[in-house]
Amino acid sequence: MNRKVIREDLDSRIFDAVNKVLLVCFMVIILVPLWNVIISSLSSGRALAEGGFIFWSKEFSLENYRAVFNDSTIGQSFVVSVAKTFLGVITHVFFCAMIGYGLSKRYIRGRKLYVAMGVITMFFSGGMIPTYLLIKSLGLLNSFWVYIIPALFSYYDVVILMNFFRNVPDSLEESAKIDGAGDWHIFLKIFIPLSMPAMATIALFNGVGQWNDFMTTKLYITDQALYPLQMKLYEIIVQSQTQSMQNIGGSVVIETTTKGVQLATIVITTLPIVAMYPILQRYFISGMMLGAVKE
């Protein structure tokens, strides 16, 4: 009996050790490439051209970042990205909360129809071309508002907020109604402050989506002044790709300059996400659970 327990214990310990080693390998596979990008972005053009390093650059320099900050179009793209993320998140969360609040009232007439309309939007869409033609006929091409208006609504988020509002005790609403408060007053003054955790979760997810969104620009924007960082980065990548293909054996200097700028832009584009990551992490698991409640 005793020997059996010891053997089991040993098996279990071997399992734990192997498990830990494999997970450490997994961490290395994720972290080393990311570290390499940061180190490369801090390398001089010469070191980048020579290559030959993984963990530590041969020659450190801030020239890539200097080049990025001297390029005023990148600064402008940063402003566009920040503006569309902030405005997009605030309007999206408010719009979805407003509709979710309305639909959380079971007595509202036409509720069945509204819900059916919403559910259909989760499964069917017109696709790329019909949506493009709509945006075009609305005059939203090359307009900043194309980042905001089509992104106002998501039925998924409406459902999450609706479920959250349902969990607020009815007595709060009833007592406010007795005091003569209207629906808008109750929504703005009682329900919004109470549902901050749910709204923060949706805001964070939506914010990451807005910050990382690239297709909206690619499809609807040709005006460079309205390019967000993601699109700017895409342009730099395409440019350096073509250069590196044309320049096989040609001038290496131009290539590495674009490459350096590309690396620095990558780091700058990702920095806000990384900075928000600790807050994000607190909310995204609860966010996944909010979504799961629906199903």
Binding site: L31, S40, M98, P130, S244, I273, M288
Partner: protein, 331 residues
């Protein structure tokens, strides 16, 4: 005829039928309008959403009709002439389209074969960790790549795979290659790059739902198994996995229904003139035909055809997995 007989029966047995069913349409509309006016304040919160859905969701769905028309830049949706199924007939003989289908399926099946299992294994490995802090650390790191955009990751991949980059350096040091080369310019390796980079990005994130399900498993099962002498692997096989059956089936259905879809962001950033023949997928083909070449009707027809096939796939996958799950549909 039918209607009158139905209304007479409902009049004779009132409780069996909901009260609204027996009222004539005119009266129901009148009631709706009075109720709507009375509820105006709360209705005014929902109304913007209804208007939004009609404009931004239902008008584009109606716009799908251009797949059956010959729409050119000078036309409007209503003046474009109907051409019936002509656009769909062209699809059948369009070899570029079928190349795109092959690439899409090739990448999707690789993602399904490898990318589907890895998050499950990873979730079990994380679940089996007993040290709180290390567990938290592993989770924090593994979720991180999910938050990078494909443009950022594409830029990183181009850097890693460049002749002076990390990937070549690693292979040179390990002695696996003697001369650096850029594998992004090698069309034959594109499917693997697309698959593995997607797994690198999403594997950790994919564990969240599994971990949430595993957290609900009753720990006494494991204790009982331990007393019966079951090892750790045996416990995973006989307790953890059976408890995850439903969620794994659900994920499988969703993955199968998405076989014809692919990541447009990923394709656009990683595709170049050298690897295009293996990188062009259905989505990027629709984008190219519609947005670059302006053939709106044809591009819409391709998109519509593919979504119809996807719905059929979804229904078939649901049927198969519900058979495997003792006839309980997970959808």
């Amino acid at each position: 005829m039918n209607k009158t007989s139905a209304s007479t029966t409902s009049a004779s047995i009132p409780p069996a039928v909901p009260p609204s069913a027996k009222k004539p349409v005119g009266q129901r509309i009148k009631e709706f309008v009075t109720d709507y006016k009375r509820q105006w304040e709360i209705q005014s919160m929902v109304l913007p959403g209804i208007i939004f859905m009609i404009i931004f969701c239902y008008i584009p769905i109606y716009g799908l009709t251009i797949a059956f028309k010959n729409y050119t830049v000078i036309d409007t949706l209503s003046t474009a002439p109907w051409v019936g199924l002509d656009n769909f007939r062209i699809i059948l003989s369009d070899e570029y389209f079928w190349d795109a289908v092959i690439n899409t399926l090739g990448i999707s099946f690789l993602k399904l074969g490898i990318g589907f299992i890895i998050p499950i294994i990873l979730a079990i490995m994380i679940y089996e960790l007993n040290m709180g802090r290390f567990k938290k650390f592993v989770q924090t790191i593994s979720y991180l790549p999910h938050f990078l955009s494909w443009i950022v990751l594409g830029g990183m991949l181009i850097t890693w795979f460049s002749t002076s980059g990390l990937f070549n350096e690693l292979l040179l040091n390990l002695g696996l290659i003697s001369k650096p080369s850029n594998i992004l310019l090698d069309a034959g390796k594109y499917w693997w790059i697309a698959t593995l980079s997607d797994i690198w990005k999403e594997a950790g994130w994919g564990t969240i739902l599994y971990l949430a399900i595993m957290a609900k498993i009753d720990p006494t099962y494991y204790e009982a198994a331990r007393i019966d002498g079951a090892g750790r692997l045996r416990q995973i096989w006989n307790i953890t996995l059976p408890n995850m059956k439903a969620i794994i089936s659900l994920n499988l259905i969703l993955t199968v229904s998405g076989l014809l879809g692919s990541n447009l962001d990923q394709t656009l950033v990683l595709m170049n003139s050298q690897n295009r023949e293996k990188a062009e997928v259905i989505n990027s083909y629709v984008y190219r035909m519609g947005m670059t070449q302006g053939d709106f009707s044809y591009a819409t027809a391709v998109g519509l055809g593919v979504s119809i096939v996807s719905v059929i796939l979804l229904l078939m996958a649901n049927k198969v997995t519900s058979k495997l799950n003792d006839n309980q549909s997970v959808l």
